[in-house]
Structures are given as C-alpha cells and as structure tokens.
C-alpha cells in the first residue's frame, strides 16, 4: 500500500533517535525504577516501530506482534513493580 516515502523515513529516524535516547536513560538511570520506566518506554517504542513496519512492508500480520508486545510489556512492568516493592520489605497488596 505504501512505499518508503519521506514521511515514513522521517518517522523511522525519529523513532531510532528515541531508541538511542531511551537507552541512555536505561544505562544511566540512577535507580532501578528509572530503568524499569525506560524499559517500559522501549516496549512502547517497539510497538510504534512494528506499526510503522506494518505500513512499509504491507504485511498486516505484523500487527499481531504489536498486540502481544503490549501485553507482555504490561506483565513485565507489573512483575518489576512487585519486585521493587518486595525488595524493600514493603507489604505487597496488589
């Protein structure tokens, strides 16, 4: 449906730049929570990248990967939140 026209190039470059910036936060992040937020953001970026690639490659099947990634990212974040809470002896009530 679409070939790789200039708006898609611009979008790819912007998302690639965002990946680099989020990796900077992932490496530097002073606390574990900062890194978890960066990981969460990485999964949103991946979902956006998959959506873009669905447009460029004209293969709507790739969209399923984005749906599954959204689900897995949520589970991972919840697991990390429980880990952070338990690490400090906090009563986990979730």
């Amino acid at each position: 449906m679409l070939s790789l026209t200039w708006p898609l190039w611009v979008a790819f470059v912007a998302i690639g730049l965002s990946f680099i910036l989020v990796f900077v936060r992932l490496v530097r992040g002073p606390s574990l929570s900062d890194r978890v937020v960066a990981l969460d953001m990485l999964s949103y970026l991946s979902i956006g990248l998959i959506a873009l690639w669905t447009l460029v490659s004209q293969q709507p099947a790739y969209l399923d990967a984005a749906i599954v990634l959204a689900l897995i990212a949520f589970l991972a974040t919840v697991a990390f939140a429980r880990y952070i809470a338990r690490q400090h002896g906090e009563e986990v009530t979730l």
Partner: protein, 119 residues
C-alpha cells in the same frame, strides 16, 4: 487518505521523540514517568491509528484493539511502578518540588498513630 496516514505517522513519531527527550532530560523519576507514559502512549497509539486508517476491515479492528489495550494497561503499569518506587523510598523529588501531599499524609498518619498508642 494517504495525507491522513502520513499526518498520523509524523505526529506519532514526533510524540515518541518528545517522550524520549523527556525521559532523558526530566530531573526526577515521577517527571520522567510522566513524559514516558503519556507522550509515549500517545505516540504508539497514533502510529497504530495510522495502520488502522491505512488498511481495511480486520486490520482496523485489530489495530483499534491494540490501541484500547495500550490505553488500558499503560496507566495501570505506570501507577504500580510509581507506587512501588515511592514506598520503597527510591524517589528523590526535584529541588523545585513545591508539594508532596502523600508525604504529608503519611506524616500525619504516623503522628496520629504515635499519639493514640499508650506508651
């Protein structure tokens, strides 16, 4: 139609970039989370919406389902991370922070508990 798809793609990518810049530049955890969760979800949602507009029927439904799922889970995930980090004492608020109502409430709670205990 193509104009709409291109507009959605460019806006979505722009908001992704804004979220990433916010994640790097913001001074404390809660502000970073504010940038990443809101702008990041909006960016991913707009890109998925571009897919929904570009293709027909079944793909549109799946893309809209992905958007709905993203909008349901992202605030919950951010809430849980923020809550866990705050109670674990890992949030050092920015120097310019004016109001921390949760800290005041917890202090008042601790005072009330100390006053009512018979020691």
């Amino acid at each position: 139609m193509m104009i709409l798809v291109y507009g959605l793609v460019l806006t979505g990518a722009f908001f992704m970039l804004v979220a990433a810049i916010g994640l790097v530049r913001m001074p404390d955890l809660l502000m970073r989370m504010h940038a990443a969760t809101k702008a990041g979800t909006l960016g991913a949602g707009l890109l998925l919406l571009a897919v929904a507009v570009a293709y027909g029927d079944g793909v549109t439904v799946r893309a809209l389902a992905a958007i709905a799922f993203l909008f349901l889970t992202a605030p919950v995930a951010a809430h849980m991370i923020g809550r866990a980090a705050y109670y674990a004492g890992g949030v050092q608020c920015w120097d310019g922070t004016l109001l921390d109502e949760l800290a005041e409430a917890r202090q008042a709670d601790a005072d009330a508990r100390a006053a009512s205990s018979p020691s």
